[in-house]
């Protein structure tokens, strides 16, 4: 190989090496373990303090909101009959409801309570399976619907345009 080729090979491998280094350190410093509830419970090592992602279904009736601070939420998620208590501070997504599949991201404390800093709900297209399993009947509005009666006089809004 002549000098030019060597020069370019060196230059290119410098770039490739830097990118490789960035990826390697990036993975090390940002990765989080991903478990389902039962997988987490079956781990022999304690994970308290490390970043975790846990997937499970919201236990029916477990959602409690602090009456003083509406944004303070406690609930439990379960999978294969194992439960995990979660506390979360913040706005909950639209699809956060009893039985719904959620992924929480955060860490465990000493008592084994999960402190979530993000709460993700699964894809809305899952409603299909849920309905077939005898969930909500199409045509009924959710219980969640407020008692605010539609009152045309009260409305002085301009209609918002979505084409």
């Amino acid at each position: 190989m002549d000098r030019k080729k060597i020069k370019f090979a060196l230059g290119s491998s410098l770039i490739v090496g830097t990118i490789g280094y960035l990826i390697a350190t990036g993975i090390n410093s940002t990765s989080t373990y991903f478990f389902t509830v039962s997988e987490l419970m079956d781990q022999k090592v304690s994970f308290h303090g490390t970043g975790l992602k846990v997937k499970g279904n919201v236990v029916a009736g477990s959602i409690e909101r602090d009456p003083g601070d509406y944004l303070n939420v406690q609930f439990a998620i379960e999978e294969k009959n194992r439960n995990l208590n979660v506390v979360y501070q913040g706005v909950t997504p639209d699809m956060f409801q009893d039985g719904g599949e959620v992924v929480v991201e955060g860490a465990l404390d000493e008592q084994g309570v999960f402190h979530a800093n993000t709460l993700l709900t699964s894809c809305p297209s899952k409603y299909e399976a849920e309905k077939e399993a005898g969930g909500m009947h199409p045509g009924t509005l959710p219980d969640y619907k407020p008692k605010l009666k539609p009152d045309p006089r009260k409305v002085d809004f301009l209609p918002k345009t979505t084409i």
Partner: protein
């Protein structure tokens, strides 16, 4: 009509199978009779798939719920607008839509090349038909959109409310047009390899296809981002979700390809590299489809019945194996005649640009599949989120941004000191002055803010180098033109590819600036409010005025909160975020309200409410998000200039060929 639709799908499969074989045999055995017969296949296949598509659309418009697919994605009360777009709302229809676009493209290629380029085109058609066969196979035997329900229900289930947004009609087709478009350059590259016609003919024949597909892919990504921004209500536009990555990776690889082909055209270098890049682009589109259809990777938007993964995985490995073997067997023919001379040259700039782009693509790929790899090797699933992608891609992206500024103004072959001084002094000066002005204004307290500051300086550098290019060109032409505007017009008109490309770069710079500002200066706050209470963010104060319910249609109830927004004591806007409840769907949809200006977006969400009319309001303040969308329109403009038919370009190429003393061959475009 449903029977016809199902039947034509079958016919399409049969004819495209025949076409694949016939084209190959015609080209190999030099049999004109077979060629003439095979040449009818594209039209027949296209017509058959068109009939199937019309049949499915008709089923949607006539509320024919005996079709399982129509039942699952439509109902009687759905707007016609969304009935039209429900076509690609689910897996089955979107595959049919894919096949429809692919065969339509094939028809255009067929018409463009009718009895021309007889060495390459039959193979290219065969490759495209083979890919069509794959989709038709799935449509016929695995995900038939014409699957019946024995006892048709009265009403359908309706389209997911999240999809009932006008972006639904724009975003998926745009993305598909881009995704599928790369099949054409890929097919021609394969044809070039098979027929051993390895000059740059295949690149020139498909240059427009590449540009247009790239354009659609780019727009598809941007449209997806703005859809997520207005519809999903989390205040952001990009989350590095696997499905987003699936659309992002082909775009990045295609960008690398788009740049490196210029080296092959001008310098007859990097032939293997270009072949590999177009192969990689195509493989990435299939990989992206695999991610969305397999459900293998946890994502927020996978399809309902994600069962097709293994078919796509099979296709993926098949393509990689065949293409790698082809490239290796043709290696001696792909030898470059020239080589790189100096680091300080445009060629080297292109090379480094390619390495950086591939670096971004690889980092994204690695992050996307990391959970699978870690589970296979270590038995635990380890995921990486946005912090990983930002940590890796931001520095690479900044280096790339610097290259956007350097590349177009550095000399070919070898830059001399005087060339460097002449071209770089002014842009660098502007960048330094800009940096000095910004220094006291912008916060620099953490890494992200420092990156943003660097990004701003680089943006100024690139922008000024581009504008100086426009300025210099205009001035040079002003002598022969009446007005400055006329000079600028004729400059662009006579060098469409070059100045169109510069325009695209200006759009990219705007997107960079928008991403940099919004990702590090954005803030948000949330609060439970009673009527009359206020929430504050930056200089804005939002007063919660009232909550109302509207029965919008018989299927939709809207709950709307009204907030008056004040800045410096003056009322500037009324925010009306809402929640919509759809009949048949058990979750509400948040409709955010956004006040968007070039400086910043105020983004208001009605997160929650209760019967006593108190509501949880979440407010985001996102600076410069509008720059992204504006940059997108500038890219669109630039691409249009680039893709405009250009006779001068052909003449210039012939001149160059004469200079290079390459055997004269008639232009084939």
């Amino acid at each position: 009509m449903n029977d016809i639709g199902e039947f034509t799908l079958m016919i399409a499969l049969a004819t495209s199978l025949y076409g694949t074989v016939a084209y190959v045999m015609a080209a190999r055995g030099n049999r004109i009779d077979l060629y003439l017969s095979a040449d009818k296949v594209p039209l027949i296949t296209w017509a058959c798939i068109m009939i199937s598509s019309i049949a499915l659309w008709k089923a949607f418009f006539t509320n024919d719920f005996s079709l399982q697919y129509v039942y699952a994605y439509s109902n009687i009360e759905l707007d016609y607008f969304y009935k039209f777009s429900s076509f690609w709302g689910g897996q089955k229809g979107s595959l049919l839509f894919w096949a429809l676009i692919l065969t339509s493209y094939m028809m255009v290629v067929h018409i463009q090349n009718r009895s021309k380029n007889l060495i390459v085109v039959p193979y290219a058609m065969a490759v495209m038909l083979a890919i069509t066969c794959f989709f038709l196979f799935l449509l016929n035997f695995s995900t038939n959109p014409f699957e019946r329900i024995p006892l048709p229900p009265e009403d359908g289930r309706g389209l997911n409310p999240l999809l009932q947004n006008y972006w639904m009609v724009i975003h998926p087709p745009t993305l598909y047009l881009g995704y599928v478009g790369f099949t054409v350059p890929f097919a021609f590259a394969m044809a070039a390899l098979i027929s051993k016609n390895l000059d740059d003919a295949w690149i020139r024949l498909t240059r427009k296809w590449t540009v247009v597909s790239w354009f659609f892919l780019c727009m598809g990504n941007l449209f997806g981002a703005s859809w997520a921004y207005v519809e999903l209500g989390w205040g952001g536009y990009w989350a590095w979700d696997p499905v987003e990555n699936a659309a992002f990776m082909p775009l990045i690889v295609a960008t690398a390809y788009l740049h490196s082909v210029m080296i092959q055209e001008k310098k007859d270098m990097m032939k293997v590299w270009n072949m590999s890049l177009i192969l990689l682009t195509f493989v990435m589109t299939i990989f992206g489809t695999f991610i969305t259809r397999s459900g293998l990777i946890q994502s927020v938007h996978t399809f309902d019945e994600a069962t097709l993964g293994y078919y796509f995985l099979g296709l993926l490995f098949f393509i990689i194996a065949v293409c790698t073997a082809l490239i290796i067997s043709r290696l001696p023919l792909l030898k470059s005649k020239n080589e790189l001379d100096s680091f300080l040259s445009r060629e080297a700039g292109f090379l480094f640009n390619n390495l950086l782009l591939l670096g971004i693509a690889f980092a994204t790929f690695w992050g996307t599949i990391f959970p699978i790899i870690s589970e296979a090797i270590r038995g635990v699933k380890i995921t990486v989120g946005p912090p990983f992608y930002n940590q890796v891609n931001v520095p690479i992206g900044l280096a790339l941004l610097a290259l956007i500024g350097i590349g177009p103004i550095i000399a070919w072959r070898k830059a001399t000191w005087s060339n460097l001084k002449k071209n770089f002094l002014k842009p660098l000066m502007f960048a330094l002055i800009g940096g000095a002005i910004l220094f006291p204004v912008v916060p620099l307290s953490n890494r992200s803010e420092i990156y943003t500051y660097i990004a701003f300086i680089l943006c100024i550098f690139v922008l000024s180098s581009m504008l100086i290019e426009f300025y210099k060109g205009t001035m040079a032409r002003y002598a022969s033109s009446e007005t400055y505007l006329g000079a600028l017009g004729s400059l662009i008109w006579n060098n469409k590819r070059r100045y169109g490309g510069y325009t695209v770069h200006i759009g990219v710079v705007m997107i960079y600036a928008g991403i940099a500002a919004s990702s590090s200066y954005g803030i948000h706050t949330e609060k439970r409010l009673k009527i009359g209470e206020t929430i504050e963010i930056r200089d804005y104060m939002l007063r919660y005025e009232k909550l109302a319910a509207i029965q919008a249609t018989s299927v939709k109830t809207r709950i709307i909160a009204q907030l008056a927004v004040e800045k410096d004591g003056k009322k500037i806007w009324t925010a009306r975020p809402e929640k919509e409840f759809y009949k048949g769907q058990n979750q509400p949809v948040s409709e955010v309200d956004v006040r968007s200006t070039l400086a910043s977006d105020l983004y208001v969400i009605l997160a929650d409410f209760s019967e006593d009319e108190s509501a949880t309001i979440k407010v985001y303040h996102n600076p410069m998000v509008k720059w992204l969308w504006t940059g997108g329109w500038i890219i669109a403009l630039g691409t249009m200039v680039c893709a405009w038919p250009d006779r001068l370009e052909q003449r210039r190429r012939l001149e160059r060929l004469k200079l290079q003393k390459i055997v004269f061959s008639p232009a084939q475009e």
